[in-house]
């Protein structure tokens, strides 16, 4: 029974692992921390899995646990300096599509997002993942209106950071 549950869980996590990796990418600054957070999210997901009911989508449920772990439960083991090449990976595929200026702006934008506080970062993450405000508000535990207001403020803040003039 336990083995079946384990098999089911590992299969689902393997299929949906990108969600956790993306949370880790946004909330950590190097490979070591990334793996550390991934490990903690996996433990939290596995612990909560027996109570997971099929009525919600596994991925939706995962977003919540992964973000909760990153924002609240995870304790960074040590402070480490960000390694530049780690984040650059995301922009490798962009160079073919955009000119240098746009690519540079995207990098500035991405770095600005990484500098946001934990909560703002979570909002932006869900926005980048194309989640609607209903899901954002339910994940964060705030009203839809407040999620919208705060998101607009964060967007404004980011815009100013990218285009200071």
């Amino acid at each position: 029974m336990e083995k079946d549950l384990q098999e089911k869980f590992v299969t689902l996590l393997e299929e949906n692992q990108n969600i956790v990796h993306k949370v880790c990418r946004l909330y950590t600054n190097n490979r070591e921390q990334h793996n550390d957070l991934f490990q903690e999210v996996t433990i939290q997901l596995w612990r909560a899995f027996p109570k997971f009911r099929g009525d919600a989508k596994f991925s939706t449920w995962m977003y919540r646990v992964a973000l909760n772990t990153a924002i609240t439960l995870y304790r960074k083991s040590k402070r480490t300096v960000q390694t530049q090449d780690f984040d650059d990976v995301m922009f490798r595929i962009s160079s073919e599509e955009y000119d240098d200026t746009v690519e540079q702006q995207l990098k500035v934008m991405y770095n600005a997002i990484k500098d946001l506080n934990d909560i703002e970062k979570a909002l932006v993450f869900l926005y980048l993942e194309d989640k609607n405000y209903k899901e954002i508000s339910e994940t964060m535990g705030i009203t839809e209106v407040n999620a919208r207001v705060k998101m607009n403020r964060v967007k404004g803040k980011l815009k100013k950071l990218v285009n200071p003039s």
């Binding site: 384990q6 869980f9 590992v10 299969t11 393997e14 692992q17 990108n18 990796h21 993306k22 990418r25 991934f38 490990q39 903690e40 996996t42 433990i43 939290q44 596995w46 612990r47 909560a48 109570k51 919540r64 646990v65 909760n68 772990t69 609240t72 439960l73 995870y74 304790r75 083991s77 990976v89 995301m90 922009f91 595929i93 962009s94 955009y98 746009v102 702006q105 995207l106 934008m109 991405y110 997002i113 506080n117 934990d118 909560i119 979570a122 926005y127 980048l128 993942e129 194309d130 339910e138 994940t139 964060m140 535990g141 705030i142 407040n146 705060k150 967007k155 980011l158 815009k159 990218v162």
Partner: protein
């Protein structure tokens, strides 16, 4: 004008090929590892705090002054019994409350509810510590007063009020040091949580 966030969103959704890929064989061993979450630390530290004050109260009860002082007065015994009952009642109350709050913590709740439940659990311990410190001060002062009262000949040349006052000040100072150490531990454990919870609450205004 180009909306950079929209561009980034497109980019963000295309990053899959750059993400690490773990196999089932990589994931299985992860299930066996121990969590290092803040909730686990809160649980461990809280248990240490509960035990610490329990031991202090037991030590205090068995503490014997030297010399020829009469420590077996009826008043003193009555006080000790009442104090022990009160302390056990306080301890049981807070441990039950702590357990109920701790059980409520679930990573599947919304971020706000999860943070609120963790902070409430921690607050229970905080109030327990405050109660224990208060009881400690009361016990020290009352015990001194009762000992002085039961041994009038030994304290003949000393001003009783001054003696009790000195005891009170000393106990408050010792408790104050405990409080400083405690605030530090509490602060380290919940600093990030507090900040994030405030940030979420701010959105509701």
């Amino acid at each position: 004008m180009v909306d950079e966030l929209e561009l980034l969103k497109k980019q963000w959704q295309k990053q899959d090929e750059t993400l690490p890929k773990l196999s089932k064989e990589d994931i299985y061993p992860m299930l066996l590892k121990k969590s290092s979450s803040v909730v686990k630390w809160i649980f461990i530290i809280s248990m240490i705090e509960f035990s610490f004050w329990m031991i202090i109260s037991l030590l205090f009860r068995d503490f014997q002054f030297g010399g020829d002082l009469k420590l077996e007065s009826e008043n003193l015994r009555n006080f000790e019994t009442i104090f022990l009952i009160v302390h056990i009642a306080v301890l049981l109350f807070f441990i039950t409350k702590f357990y109920i709050n701790f059980k409520k913590i679930a990573s599947t709740d919304s971020a706000r509810k999860l943070m609120k439940n963790i902070l409430n659990t921690r607050k229970t311990v905080k109030y327990y510590i405050y109660s224990s410190m208060t009881l400690f001060v009361i016990a020290a002062v009352f015990t001194t007063a009762l000992i002085v009262d039961g041994n009038p000949e030994a304290f003949e040349e000393i001003n009783k009020t001054v003696l009790i006052l000195i005891t009170a000040i000393l106990t408050i100072m010792i408790t104050g040091i405990f409080w400083l150490v405690y605030s530090k531990i509490y602060g380290i454990l919940t600093k990030r949580l507090d900040r994030n919870y405030k940030e979420l609450k701010k959105m509701e205004v």
